[in-house]
């Protein structure tokens, strides 16, 4: 794999540093964190993510999509997509992270770059309710057939309430928290409050 503009990445002593430098030159000064020898995290704005990914896929040794997943940052009103793109021959991965508006919950598909993105995007669509227009299996159930509630991986989906509803505890169960129990037994009280 040869990057016409910069020469061969394989010759670089530190591939992570070098690829980040090239991305910076080409696309902008995205924050980068060198997590470890084989992993660099880059926080990319949404408008740049597809250009960066296409460039990596077509013009660099970073040809593999190792995984794609999402994180719900409910308190920030954002979703984050995390693309792990790997250069299998150089043994370095890039974690490209992009924040989306949670209210809009839409991102461009990378199905055209990587075939197996269809399943990743299908799952994210189902579990987070993020829509990837043009991705082949959007809206087709993957794991949750007949699910009617909110996408369950969203942070505001209350797992405990769901479990209590669907799998009620055995009747007669009763638990005493020792902290509370001891306090009650010894007449603990407050003299200021």
């Amino acid at each position: 794999m040869f990057d016409i503009n910069h020469g061969n990445l394989d010759d670089s002593p530190d591939v992570g540093q070098e690829i980040v430098r090239r991305i910076h030159d080409r696309f902008g000064d995205f924050p980068a964190r060198f997590q470890k020898a084989d992993l660099v995290r880059l926080d990319v704005p949404q408008k740049d993510i597809i250009p960066v990914l296409s460039w990596l896929r077509t013009e660099t040794p970073f040809v593999q999509l190792t995984h794609l997943t999402a994180v719900d940052w409910l308190e920030d009103g954002q979703f984050e997509l995390m693309y792990l793109v790997t250069a299998p021959d150089l043994m370095v991965s890039l974690h490209l992270c992009v924040r989306l508006d949670r209210a809009k919950a839409e991102a461009e598909s990378v199905f055209n770059l990587w075939l197996q993105a269809e399943t990743y995007e299908q799952e994210i669509n189902e579990m987070f309710g993020i829509h990837f227009p043009g991705s082949p299996r959007q809206g087709v159930p993957f794991i949750l057939e007949g699910w009617r509630d909110m996408p369950p991986m969203r942070r505001d989906f209350d797992t405990v309430a769901y479990c209590d509803r669907t799998h009620p505890v055995r009747p007669g169960r009763e638990h005493q928290d020792s902290r509370v129990y001891v306090g009650r037994k010894f007449g603990e009280k407050g003299y200021l409050k």
Partner: protein
């Protein structure tokens, strides 16, 4: 397709005549491995009911249940395991601070009734209860942290005895938060604390960095927390579940840390007590911890409270007894300032005399007596009246009132409690060689173990199983402290007591003999009839469950009343009197 490959699979026929791998398991029970994770077992004697097993179980398989006869000092709860949920991860076993919980190597249990598969291990007997094998806690793997964050000292030990500065430095923020994170919030400490402070709650607040929240929890039951944070006898730490197999949480140091974060306490504290005491007044006689507690919590409820204190400074024994290198004056004054800011009136240098007491009974709606123990117990040995033999308590009072105390070159301190250690360490700082003479063994010493360690580090010499025989005058004003060795005798399983080995006399030449073998109440300031009415056989005062003496409207507490004679017990008595006085005046919500 080669012939070889057609024939190859038939090589397996060679195996047909060999012993098969399979064994008939239906007939032979296959025992689990030595550390198999099977059904639960629990040594309920050792279990302290801390509920940590229940907290860690990610399947919510453990409910804590009250059991009939709890051990003394535990919560009275025992874990009940529901095998409809358990996944046999044994995290409950690995976290159990007492090491009582285990999994047996037994894994076969067949029943048609699904509801039998839950039981309280150790209480509901099972055939595998005595199984020696199975998963047990291992020392090399701890899910709770057994090691306390060490308390940094202000200065190297050799410099300590040259100053009166505080010995202990106090935790840094990071240290305090790390120490607080060791807590498992079982609450056993709440039961053990005489004042039932909200210990897990303030520790959690410290862990999360919310020190103002912590101080509010702390002030809920203790108006002298910085004092307790420095000198408390900390019975909470004795029962700490982490302490069963490790160092207990440094509860005392954490309390100290939280209160030391704020120089102006009224800025962080809030109180929501209704003003029920308007128009009512209460006199508090004796400004020790008990009296100050009563005064503070009544004042925040709108009572008009006056504290009468004989000495120039309130604080009681925490002022005149406890040395300043343990509890500096500034720290006391800061806590007293909050009390006066919040409405407590304090009259120092005001000793209540018999006639005045009668007048106070007229003028006030209720009285609290907390005058403590000021009369020293005598050595009960020949020569006790010689000049140079002095009671520790008097020496301490003199020292703290700023009078010069002469200790000479070498002193012997008789006794093994906190008072003895304090007198010894003060004498060290006054420049003397110090020997402590104690009747029993080191492990029997009532003084705080860290105090003993600190004293030894400062060069105090400890002599145990040492019974004073008599003191004789030596030429040149020195004294001959004559003592005999003791052997320890256990009778009827009780605490071993020292018995003098007759015929041996040892001599120790000293300048002073400081006697610290206890103090007694001194009620001569009460009118004789009142003293007669409310005092008991040992000269103290007896109270009912509301803290009230036999004289209506007269309440009492602290060293005069309780048998534990420490600051936190006095505070607990003060809290009891707060409720007692409110109820006595008909202002309580209770009928």
């Amino acid at each position: 397709m080669s012939l070889k490959n057609v024939i190859a699979p038939f090589s397996a026929w060679a195996r047909a005549v060999q012993k098969p791998f399979t064994v008939p398991t239906a007939e032979t029970f296959r025992p689990g491995a030595d550390r198999y994770r099977g059904w639960h077992i629990n040594d309920t004697e050792q279990c302290i009911g801390c509920g940590t097993c229940s907290d860690i179980c990610q399947n919510s398989a453990i409910d804590m249940k009250p059991v009939d006869e709890p051990n003394k000092g535990d919560s009275g709860l025992r874990p009940l395991v529901d095998y409809g949920r358990c996944c046999w991860c044994a995290l409950c076993v690995d976290v159990c601070p007492s090491g009582s919980l285990g999994l047996s190597s037994n894994y076969i249990w067949i029943d048609r009734d699904p509801d039998v598969f839950r039981y309280i291990p150790g209480v509901d007997r099972k055939e595998w209860d005595s199984d020696e094998k199975g998963w047990r806690k291992d020392d090399g793997f701890n899910l709770v942290d057994p090691d306390r964050v060490p308390m940094p000292m202000m200065m190297p030990v050799e410099d300590r005895v040259k100053t009166w500065a505080e010995v202990v430095l106090g935790y840094t923020e990071a240290e305090a938060r790390a120490e607080a994170a060791r807590c498992v919030e079982c609450g056993l400490c709440v039961a053990a604390c005489p004042a039932h402070m909200h210990i897990p709650d303030y520790i959690a607040a410290i862990r999360d960095g919310h020190y103002d929240v912590a101080v509010n929890h702390i002030y809920d039951n203790n108006p002298l927390p910085e004092m307790c944070g420095k000198v408390c006898t900390r019975r909470c730490e004795d029962v700490c579940s982490i302490g069963v197999n490790g160092d207990p949480l440094a509860i005392r140091w954490l309390k100290r840390f939280a209160t030391e974060q704020f120089s102006d306490l009224s800025a962080v504290l809030s109180h929501e007590q209704p003003q029920i005491g308007t128009g009512k007044s209460v006199a508090v006689i004796g400004g020790g911890p008990g009296g100050l507690t009563t005064a503070f919590y009544l004042a925040v409820r709108g009572f008009k409270v006056t504290v009468f204190e004989a000495l120039p400074q309130v604080g009681g024994a925490t002022f005149f007894g406890i040395p300043k290198y343990r509890f500096p004056l500034g720290s006391l004054e800061k806590q007293i300032k909050l009390m006066t800011d919040w409405g407590v009136e304090i009259k120092t240098n005001h000793k209540v005399e018999p006639d005045e007491f009668k007048q106070l009974q007229q003028d006030y709606d209720a009285i609290y007596i907390g005058t403590g123990l000021l009369k020293p117990s005598s050595l009960r040995a020949e020569g006790e009246d010689l000049p140079g033999v002095m009671p520790a308590i008097e020496m301490l009072i003199d020292h703290h009132l700023g009078k010069t105390v002469e200790v000479g070159q070498h002193v012997v301190v008789v006794g093994g409690g906190n008072v003895a250690i304090d007198a010894a360490r003060i004498s060290r700082r006054l420049g003397a060689e110090v020997t402590i003479a104690y009747r029993r063994r080191l492990e029997d010493m009532p003084a705080d173990y860290e105090e003993i360690e600190d004293a030894e580090a400062e060069g105090v010499h400890l002599m145990t199983q040492n019974i004073p025989l008599r003191v004789e005058q030596l030429p040149g004003g020195r004294l001959d402290f004559i003592w005999g060795p003791a052997e320890m005798i256990s009778e009827g399983g009780g605490r071993p007591r020292p018995k003098l080995i007759e015929g041996i006399e040892n001599h120790l030449a000293v300048d002073k003999v400081i006697v610290a073998i206890g103090q007694k109440p001194d009620l001569r300031w009460l009118p004789a009839d009142v003293a007669e009415q409310i005092s008991n056989s040992w000269g103290g005062i007896t109270c009912d469950e509301n803290g009230m003496t036999a004289a209506p409207g007269v309440f009492a507490g602290g060293d005069l009343v309780n048998s534990t004679a420490d600051a936190i017990s006095a505070i607990a008595d003060g809290l009891k009197a707060v409720d007692g006085i409110i109820n006595y005046l008909g202002l309580g919500t209770k009928p």
